[in-house]
């Protein structure tokens, strides 16, 4: 097998992501420590002391255990955000691209008004006004994230609707639901998956940023961003408090970006046309 940059991206991305997923799913059996158990006698221990592989924080909680429990939270939030925004975005995009006319006009206006906000600001505003809860974090992260899906799928649906087999299906009495299910949606899946991969990466970053600002899920739940924010005050005495959870975010997001790149290159229609 030729090991070029593209394959390398896939290998690196896939192995890092599997590693993170493995930790999130089975990690709690790997460490004997409870992520929320405090032990003030063992606070700020450096990595690799007394069985604490990544050390302990200011309250003596095991950092590895907290990173593992934070991984679950981060991945679960990001996955729900990506799923909800993907379904909404693809449906809106497919319908407005296929139907055109008034529905399209309305959705385009909605898209424009949501898009007029700088990305994380809208999320900050929602959480500041509605209060912090898991549901609100997911809402705050979803509210703009469906737009990229709808933009891409709308453009594709507009092309698809005039293809012969779609028109044929319509002429032969195919209803809207049938055409959507049979002809439009399956053709939109490839680009939706690509958008989803990148969107998962930005969702994890955004969730971490919100937690860092103290606007994420309630503070008693361990999150990577929240750990980083707490660790910041101890940065001169105990660097691992802030560095380790950041590394977790970095590896996960990097893995997703690499996979997204790889996927995009795989499906790139330009690649097949480019004969030069």
């Amino acid at each position: 097998m030729k090991l070029d940059l593209l394959n390398l991206k896939f290998l690196l991305g896939a192995s890092m992501l599997s590693f993170v997923l493995f930790l999130a799913l089975f990690g709690s059996w790997l460490t004997p420590f409870d992520p929320n158990r405090q032990n003030l006698l063992a606070s700020l221990l450096p990595p690799l002391t007394d069985g604490h592989i990544l050390g302990t924080d200011h309250l003596g909680r095991d950092i590895l255990a907290r990173i593992i429990s934070g991984a679950k939270v981060s991945l679960a939030i990001a996955a729900s955000v990506v799923l909800i925004s993907g379904v909404v975005g693809v449906l809106v995009g497919a319908l407005s691209g296929y139907l055109r006319g008034t529905p399209d006009l309305i959705t385009q206006k909605v898209v424009e008004s949501f898009w007029a906000f700088p990305p994380i600001l809208l999320a900050i505003a929602i959480l500041a006004f509605f209060g912090q809860s898991l549901a609100n974090v997911i809402l705050a992260l979803t509210i703009q994230r469906w737009i990229p899906y709808s933009r891409i799928t709308r453009a594709q649906a507009m092309v698809l609707r005039s293809l012969a087999y779609v028109e044929a299906s319509k002429v032969m009495g195919g209803g809207l639901g049938w055409i959507m299910r049979r002809h439009i949606l399956p053709n939109l899946m490839a680009s939706a998956v690509i958008v989803a991969t990148f969107s998962m990466a930005t969702a994890i970053l955004a969730e971490a940023s919100l937690s860092f600002l103290g606007l994420g899920v309630p503070p008693q739940i361990a999150t990577w961003g929240g750990m980083l924010a707490e660790g910041r005050s101890y940065i001169t005495r105990a660097w691992w408090l802030a560095v380790m959870p950041g590394l977790g975010i970095f590896i996960t997001v990097l893995a997703l970006n690499l996979l997204g790149d790889w996927l995009r290159d795989q499906f790139d229609p330009k690649k097949n046309l480019n004969l030069t």
Binding site: S113, L121, F212, L213, R232, I249, V253
Partner: protein, 316 residues
């Protein structure tokens, strides 16, 4: 032709200009009552707009001062930081992208692409902390927070520290100002460098596929001249577009970077306002960010006309 060009660019923005204000208004007024998603309450909206037009954003609970003044005091620091970060990002990323495109498939290209994808993937608050650990903790080279050291002041002319220092000839303050800017600006720039260099690379490669480039090569034009005459001008438009799109990232990034480095801008102010539930101040800052964002987008659209001769149109 020129008017047509501008009109063509305008519709999206006209809608943007109207809608976000009502969306903000709805966050402001409606959220407390009900979940009225996208429908503005026209009377409230009108009230909000008329207040906004008179620069009246209400009074901060905490500071007992008009929100508009509080924002005005802090805004220059935010704009200054963002300006230097964007400048740094463009100065580093565009040459990197061009280099990667010209050396496509070589080691340089691979290195640039690794740098780019890492830059995009690293959370800015983490990068900021790492930079502080290394440059202020370990090397003791740059300060880790604030805008100027205690005791150093500049006469306030424009509110922008480096510009004021330059205008008043206080070289010490200018030097200190840049030392304090170094880490936050670098942190903010790093995230953008990844994206800008990737787009630059892609658009230079695209521009290189055009026939007029092959003609130029066939004519025996020098490599340098081809890059300058044929590649860069054509690659500029997507690059400007992405810089425009990156303004959103710049704004949201600046909020976090300001908090990390205790930079006295409106991002830090927003953070403080939220943590003490100072609603008028929070609302005012969110509205200001949105207005800044829209204005910048409009400027970018106008800027296109200068970059892209096709939009300029000829007389007659």
């Amino acid at each position: 032709m020129a008017i047509f060009g501008l009109l063509r660019l305008a519709p999206g923005d006209a809608a943007d200009l109207l809608l976000p204000d009502d969306a903000t208004d709805e966050q402001v007024a409606e959220t407390r009552e009900a979940w009225g998603l996208d429908r503005p309450i026209w009377i409230q909206y009108g009230q909000f707009l008329s207040n906004l037009a008179r620069f009246d954003l209400g009074e901060s609970y905490r500071y007992r001062a008009p929100v508009f003044e509080l924002i005005g005091e802090r805004l220059p620091a935010t704009l200054e930081l963002s300006f230097y970060a964007l400048l740094l990002a463009v100065v580093v990323a565009v040459p990197l992208g061009v280099l990667a495109a010209l050396k496509k498939g070589k080691t340089v290209d691979a290195v640039v692409s690794v740098v780019a994808v890492s830059g995009v993937s690293a959370p800015s608050f983490w990068v900021g902390i790492l930079l502080v650990l290394f440059f202020s903790g370990y090397l003791n080279l740059f300060p880790s927070s604030g805008q100027l050291p205690y005791g150093v002041t500049v006469p306030e002319i424009t509110g922008f520290v480096t510009l004021d220092a330059l205008l008043s000839g206080s070289w010490d303050a200018l030097y200190e100002g840049f030392r304090y800017l170094a880490l936050p600006a670098l942190t903010l720039a790093l995230a953008m460098i990844g994206i800008i260099s990737r787009i630059t690379r892609a658009s230079v490669i695209d521009a290189g596929q055009e026939e007029h480039v092959f003609t130029a090569v066939a004519k025996g034009m020098s490599r340098r001249a081809i890059v300058r005459r044929h590649l860069l001008p054509n690659a500029a438009i997507p690059v400007v577009t992405i810089i425009g799109l990156e303004l959103g990232a710049l704004i949201s990034g600046s909020i976090i970077v300001e908090v990390v480095f205790s930079w006295p801008g409106i991002g830090t102010l927003l953070f403080q306002a939220i943590s003490v539930r100072d609603m008028p101040l929070t609302t005012g800052i969110v509205a200001s960010y949105t207005i800044i964002f829209i204005t910048l987008n409009l400027l970018i659209d106008i800027f296109y006309v200068f970059v892209d001769p096709r939009l300029r149109g000829s007389k007659g």
